[in-house]
Symmetry: C2
Subunit: 391 residues, 2 copies
């Protein structure tokens, strides 16, 4: 995609939230790739997961707008997307899964984010200070309504597709339910209609780890020179292990020691390579991510539950109004968002007579596959999107 | 077993440790059940797991000797073993798996423990203060050598069996390798010859969580009025989820909310039942367990690796000298100590022509099965032990 720049747009109206509050002002950070067709009918919205941002493809031109957190700025750019490349660069571009020769791909940082879109590190106009824990508790539907309002400003009414993995897939599903007449198709990867209780538990542990860190300071750590890095690091380690499969960890690290076959008999230092890797992952994550955003986005993704939100407990009823064609992709080794969850969506849609396609890709890397297995997702997605254009 | 009392014994000699240091004095907390035969040939040693203690069976008569940690004492007794019953009460007693009508069952708190045996909360004679992080880093072999020295004082040379689940099973394996002529049989339940890298990672996260808690104070929190409860609570939550299977969590909690179907839109309070359960587990654990013991015992169980320790990397070579009959039990839903690990031990022993029996019990509760599935383990263990007596 070459070099791209993250841009910012202020929504003209307040966003009404599920919790009953309204949020204003709301700024949205976004990037676009490809060219909008004259008929404005070639738009694909890609939605990022918990720790992503608007920079989905290409090389970052400049760091995103700095947050208000001390030292939260330029140097983290690399960490976010690996040497400045967007987090889904392998999937978005000419000839790629989301082909920018045909589609106009739009990517936004989600509501509650810390990479340019309004979130808990943004200034609360009521106090002149960052919101912190006064930021309203948000939902996936709130994220989607924010994207809807943002696209309104761009003059884009219909979407050829909404696509995303993990939390991004939840947003795609929410789009299809909330705005059935405005979405032609959704691509839901390594996602679910409702996270299983073990996933809810992992998220709770990560959040508790942040909030139990005294440096969290009830959420008002901005400008204090301290941030709950220790706690968020633990949360990230937990997340990281849940994103990988046990066999992948075995392949990658085995039980190899840091120092050949010599135990050093230490409690405080990493002794196994996998221990060292985890600490490194935690350290690089806390340099680029805001802990309060982690709390709010994690909470939103555990709340997400199509059946409860839209079907009075029934997934079938929740999906009754869907008009988008649906592509579901899951990965055999993903135990956080297991194929069984996608299968439940497939069954419900099929029973309703809705067009749905479900692919399980046999791959060993766990949940992270949605970011790694680009080559095998690409033909599936291209075929699915081409079919939509033909029909 | 009726009411039992934990007793204490001071070892006459220093214990020589794998790390090269010697530990002295060493006190061992222990309980016994049943009657020692005149020939002293009916002794079964049961070994506890990470958070256990010497109180394996019966009703506790009195709280164990108080540790040096502030407020660490009597009221935790119940939490340790559920209303005062030993942690393996369903398995030890007349007519039970470890039948006290025939066997003299001995249970000790392991080296490094916090329930009466010398550990990091014990007084370091060199300083007159608790060891804290100056306690030497210990191994499973060190635990076993301590048990060996303890049994010497009791005048017990041979063991009819060594039995345990999880870390307790590691101790049984270590016994069979270190003292092949003194162990007739081992019962290794939900255990492994070397924890897989994902398990190493979970343990590293739990330890880091304790050590990143500022209240840990480099391990010298004793007497300060503060302890790393927040961090150890997180570690315990992680542990708890790894001890259960995802389907068991689903059965037990589903996605049920604390308050019917009403979201409260809160970041700080538990919203799902499973979140509330986790916090409760964490809170009750930190009241009864010492964080430094958690660190040391967790480190020991990740170090444990029969092939590395005794076989130059080969499990077969490590097991060459084993003379004990081996019973392996694993549980189908245990993903922390999966059946595959026991199968590797079985294969290695069988290839060496050693007597070994392997049972996989199909049960849904994950690793916790070794504490829960008493009814189904009992006939398997009784048959195995009876065969030993007959032969």
């Amino acid at each position: 995609m070459g070099t791209v720049e993250t841009r910012y747009l202020d929504l003209p109206h307040p966003v009404r939230l599920d919790c009953g509050r309204e949020l204003h002002p709301v700024r949205v950070a976004y990037e676009t790739y490809g060219t909008l067709s004259p008929g404005r009918d070639n738009v694909i919205l890609v939605c990022h997961a918990l720790s992503g941002d608007a920079h989905a493809a290409g090389l970052a031109e400049a760091p995103p707008e700095a947050g208000t957190r001390d030292g939260f700025g330029a140097e983290e750019r690399d960490g976010a997307s690996g040497r400045g490349l967007g987090w889904w660069d392998g999937m978005i571009g000419p000839g790629k899964a989301f082909d920018t020769d045909r589609f106009f791909v739009v990517s936004t940082n989600l509501l509650g984010g810390c990479r340019g879109t309004t979130g808990p590190s943004s200034i609360d106009p009521a106090t002149g200070r960052p919101y912190g824990a006064d930021f309203p508790v948000i939902t996936v539907a709130d994220m989607v309504r924010t994207q809807r309002a943002f696209l309104d400003v761009l003059g884009i009414e219909r979407l050829a597709a909404v696509a995303g993995g993990s939390l991004g897939g939840m947003q795609a599903l929410e789009w299809a339910v909330l705005f059935p007449d405005q979405v032609d198709s959704i691509v839901v990867i390594a996602s679910t209609h409702a996270l299983h209780p073990q996933g809810v538990a992992w998220n709770a542990i990560a959040r508790d780890s942040i909030m139990r860190d005294p440096a969290w300071q009830g959420g008002q750590y901005y400008g204090t020179g301290r941030a709950p890095d220790a706690g968020m690091g633990i949360g990230r380690m937990v997340g990281h292990i849940t994103y990988l499969s046990a066999p992948a960890l075995d392949d990658k690290f085995g039980r190899r020691l840091q120092f050949a076959d010599d135990l050093r008999y230490t409690i405080t230092e990493p002794e196994f390579e996998v221990e060292n890797y985890l600490r490194h992952q935690a350290d690089s994550f806390v340099r680029r991510f805001d802990a309060n955003t982690y709390l709010y986005v994690s909470r939103a993704l555990t709340y997400f539950d199509l059946a409860r939100q839209h079907g009075g407990g029934s997934l079938a009823r929740a999906l009754e109004g869907v008009r988008a064609r649906t592509l579901l992709i899951a990965f055999s080794s993903d135990w956080l968002y297991p194929p069984s969850a996608s299968e439940e969506i497939e069954r419900a849609l099929r029973a309703l007579g809705k067009p749905v396609e479900f692919n399980v890709i046999d791959a060993p890397y766990g949940h992270d596959c949605f970011l790694l297995e680009e080559a095998r997702q690409t033909p599936v997605i291209r075929r699915f999107l081409a079919h939509g254009q033909a029909g």
